[in-house]
């Protein structure tokens, strides 16, 4: 019965760093708790009524002591702040070579898409020792993607993308939880993260045969939803070509002015759902909205396709 964990397993590069900070702060907490405990109990014993000790002129104030007990906690606070903020910024700066996995949360399951085309629910397979970036959105309410063994968590919001990254350091199976209350079955919106040796991961990817990649799926949708009709070589409709666009600045007509917006996931998503919001300079706002016509998972595939043609020459 006493065989229960008191400390979570450490399975990512971030986990070890965070635990070091946690241990330091735990030291601070324990030190001050003990300090107050020892002082309170010590005074309680020494100055209990009837104990004959010197009680003359009890001090009523001391500028020096106030300065000490303001300055010391302040200095420790700044140290903890600097340390934790640095780690936090690292948690959100994914390495450039991180493989992207797209995540859609919905009441009450997780749907995950690998770029190679395989998708899964409530399970996430990732290779050991390689950075993975999660690009996440929700189909309904706010969820939160939480892997305790990696010490990471990020809310997953409807209507926009949030991301986080990790690099697993230990093969094994770890818990995945939804941490933001999302309704009836919140507590079973859980899953498993399988950290596999890279070779096993490759085998897992092609276990069900090699299907179309996420970008290829996206291209199929791109044609099926008639995006290609205007955005690909049409002579009749004046629409911007999408090759080489992803990740580049795009000129946006903003009244009389032109401003530049980076064509990232957010921009492409909004351009599909709210096309009149940010119109590329020199084009008419004629594109219809695809709101309520393309689901979150398909949107992610189309974005993957547009991303895949980022290095292609514009066909114009």
């Amino acid at each position: 019965m006493w065989d229960f964990p008191l400390f979570p397993s450490q399975a990512s590069t971030n986990a070890a760093k965070l635990d070091a900070l946690m241990l330091f702060e735990l030291g601070v907490v324990v030190f001050f708790t003990l300090l107050i405990l020892v002082l309170v109990l010590g005074f309680a014993v020494r100055f209990r009524r009837g104990n004959p000790v010197d009680r003359s002129h009890p001090p009523t104030h001391s500028q020096a002591m106030e300065v000490v007990w303001i300055a010391v906690p302040m200095a420790l606070s700044l140290l903890m702040y600097g340390w934790s903020t640095r780690l936090f910024f690292d948690m959100y700066a994914a390495p450039a070579d991180a493989a992207q996995v797209d995540v859609v949360g919905k009441q009450w399951m997780w749907y995950l898409q690998h770029p190679q085309g395989r998708s899964e629910t409530n399970e996430l397979h990732v290779p050991l020792g390689r950075p993975v970036k999660l690009n996440m959105t929700s189909q309904d309410v706010i969820h939160s993607f939480f892997i305790p063994a990696f010490r990471i968590k990020q809310d997953v919001l409807p209507g926009r993308y949030t991301s986080l990254w990790f690099e697993p350091t230990k093969a094994g199976v770890f818990d995945l939880f939804c941490a933001e209350y999302c309704g009836t079955n919140h507590s079973i919106m859980i899953g498993k993260v399988h950290v596999m040796e890279p070779a096993d991961y490759e085998a897992w990817l092609s276990e069900k045969g090699v299907g179309p990649s996420q970008a290829e799926e996206g291209e199929r949708l791109f044609v099926q939803h008639h995006c290609a009709g205007c955005h690909r070589g049409s002579q009749t409709v004046h629409a911007p070509k999408l090759e080489g666009v992803y990740g580049k600045p795009v000129p946006i007509q903003d009244g009389e002015n032109v401003r530049f917006v980076t064509a990232d996931d957010r921009y492409i998503r909004d351009s599909i759902l709210i096309p009149k919001g940010e119109v590329v300079a020199g084009y008419e706002p004629i594109m219809p909205s695809f709101k309520d016509q393309i689901g979150e998972a398909d949107l992610l595939k189309i974005i993957a396709y547009i991303k895949s043609i980022a290095n292609r020459e514009t066909s114009q």
Binding site: M22, F47, S56, P148, H186
Partner: protein, 553 residues
């Protein structure tokens, strides 16, 4: 008994405030003391309801599988109602409504609060909200969590969200009225000679609380109105499908609800600052620092709401700013704890029930506050946000802090309010049981949180069970600790009045009048000529030695 300057003026015994016993005299009273007693009945009732729900939740969490409650929906309604009732109907009104109303005018030498009728109105407004809360509980419940996060609350929940929002909205006005009354009273009704730096720290803390009530609560009202507008009329405010932004709600909600944490805990500081000097028999250490710390908390408390949103998707630079501000807001709380500790030095300490509660408060609030530093640390918060670590942290503040202070205050001023003393033995036992039961309930939750158990989970992974069983066992001890005072305090009312005006030998104007006080509080104009907390430890020792001597003779 200390040589208090109390003098009776016997031109016939004046009627005490309890002497009129008709129901109408209670329901139409404008006496601040009676309104305080009305609040005491109501917050106690709500505390029992909220506590009963907590007990059901702890029973459910004994096992990893859902078994006590039939469905997850039932559990989700339980934790929502527990939060709503405990926060809006117990913690926020508890100390200000009961002790603040009763004591503030007495402490500053006033006849009543500045607006006695508004004071009664605040209780009625609160009761309307409270009765709606109970109605919701009985007829369907609400399952959004006390935080009402959108778009779940506006577009997805099928429960009584709007009714709950209206109840919270109405109750908010009660807070605003109380806050307004306190501010005006402290400014305009102080007795001659009662300068700002002669005010008991109880008054300073309540003044700071009142500022937050008046400035923060309207924002809560606005956010719940926006929820209702979106639910009823599909105004796109928070739901992205309607063009809204769900994060906006979190900003509005926490802009009130973080300062509300200080609405709940500053009055606790108020009580502790009175109890410690009295039982240490010496002036408080660093009066001005303690006083200004309350005001600093009230101001800085408005600037840290974003620390509830480090993983919400708000900009990480905003996170960095809110993090440093959150570290800074901890400093005034640290100042208070250190000054209380220094107040024990060279005192003449007695450990009556109120003092035991106050010492328990100091320990538990210290742990609660220091774990708050961990949560203010961005990287750590990413891991423990929305886990049981947070649940443990805020219960250390809200139960270990505010509720311990409330019980300490009730035990301290019970003789003043009722004219009766209670059994010290039972009192000390209750303080001990609450302290032990509390730690056993909530300490394991820190471990559960760091292990990764998310909050608001109806079912959980089996490896979390042992710690959950410990927590539930602690909760049963805690329940006994809470029910004990209810029993022996009520039983004390059967005794004749035996307290006398000043059973603790305390300074402070409220101890200069009869117990229970007369309707008019003071019989003659009050003139204040000295600082608060004019205790002398050496005199206390001499009296003690004389008492021992007499006993042996």
């Amino acid at each position: 008994m200390s040589a208090s300057a109390h003098a009776r003026h016997d031109d016939g015994p004046p009627a005490d405030y309890l002497s009129d016993t008709s129901v109408a005299s209670w329901l139409l009273t404008t006496d601040h003391k009676r309104v305080g007693i009305l609040y005491m009945f109501s917050v106690t009732a709500f505390f029992l309801v909220g506590g009963f729900i907590a007990a059901l939740m702890r029973l459910e969490l004994m096992t990893p599988k859902g078994d006590v409650m039939a469905t997850p929906d039932a559990y989700n309604r339980m934790f929502t109602m527990h939060g709503v009732i405990m926060i809006f109907f117990f913690l926020v009104p508890s100390i200000p409504g009961v002790l603040g109303n009763f004591l503030l005018p007495l402490m500053i030498g006033a006849r009543d609060l500045a607006f006695p009728k508004i004071n009664l109105l605040s209780w009625y407004v609160y009761m309307i909200g409270g009765v709606m809360g109970v109605y919701i509980l009985v007829f369907g419940g609400v399952d959004t969590g006390w935080t009402f996060y959108t778009p779940f609350s506006t577009m997805y929940s099928n429960t009584m969200v709007v009714t709950a929002a209206v109840a919270v909205f109405i109750t908010g006005f009660s807070s605003i009225l109380t806050g307004l009354n306190f501010i005006v009273t402290v400014h305009t009704m102080r007795a001659p000679g009662m300068t700002w730096f002669r005010l008991p720290l109880f008054v300073w803390s309540h003044y700071a609380t009142a500022l937050i009530m008046v400035l923060g609560t309207p924002v809560l009202a606005i956010s719940v109105i926006l929820i209702a507008l979106e639910r009823f009329f599909h105004f796109g405010v928070f739901d992205p499908k309607l063009g809204g932004d769900p994060i906006l709600f979190q900003h509005l909600f926490w802009f009130y609800s973080h300062p509300a944490v200080y609405i709940m805990v500053l009055p606790g500081f108020a009580v502790i600052s009175e109890i410690i000097p009295c039982f240490a028999r010496r002036p408080i250490f660093g009066y001005r620092f303690v006083a200004f710390a309350s005001v600093a908390i009230a101001i800085f408390g408005f600037l840290v709401w974003g620390h509830h949103m480090f993983v919400s998707g708000q900009s990480m630079y905003a996170g960095a700013v809110f993090s440093i501000l959150s570290f800074l807001v901890a400093i005034p709380s640290a100042i208070k704890v250190f000054n209380w500790t220094a107040t024990l030095y060279k005192g003449s300490l007695r450990f009556d029930t109120p003092m035991l509660y106050a010492m328990g408060f100091m320990g538990l609030f210290t742990i609660g506050g220091l774990t708050g530093l961990m949560l203010a640390s961005l990287a750590i918060d990413v891991h423990v946000h929305d886990t049981y670590f947070v649940v443990a942290h805020f219960h250390y503040i809200m139960v270990g802090g505010t509720t311990m202070a409330y019980l300490g205050g009730i035990h301290f001023w019970w003789p003043k309010m009722t004219g009766r003393t209670y059994s010290e033995l039972w009192g000390k036992l209750s303080a001990l049981l609450v302290f032990v039961g509390f730690n056993l309930t909530f300490f394991p939750q820190f471990l559960l949180g760091y292990l990764g158990m998310p909050r608001r989970y109806f079912e959980y992974r089996p490896e979390f069970q042992v710690l959950n069983v410990m927590s539930t066992a602690g909760a049963s001890i805690l329940a006994v600790g809470f029910l004990l005072p209810l029993t022996y305090l009520l039983l004390s009312l059967r005794k004749p009045r035996d307290a006398g005006p000043n059973p603790w030998g305390a300074t402070g104007l409220e101890w200069q009048v009869e117990s229970p006080p007369t309707t008019h509080n003071f019989h003659q104009p009050v003139l204040v000529t000295c600082e608060p907390y004019m205790y002398s430890p050496e005199e206390a020792e001499r009296e003690y030695a004389n008492g021992q001597h007499a006993h042996h003779a």
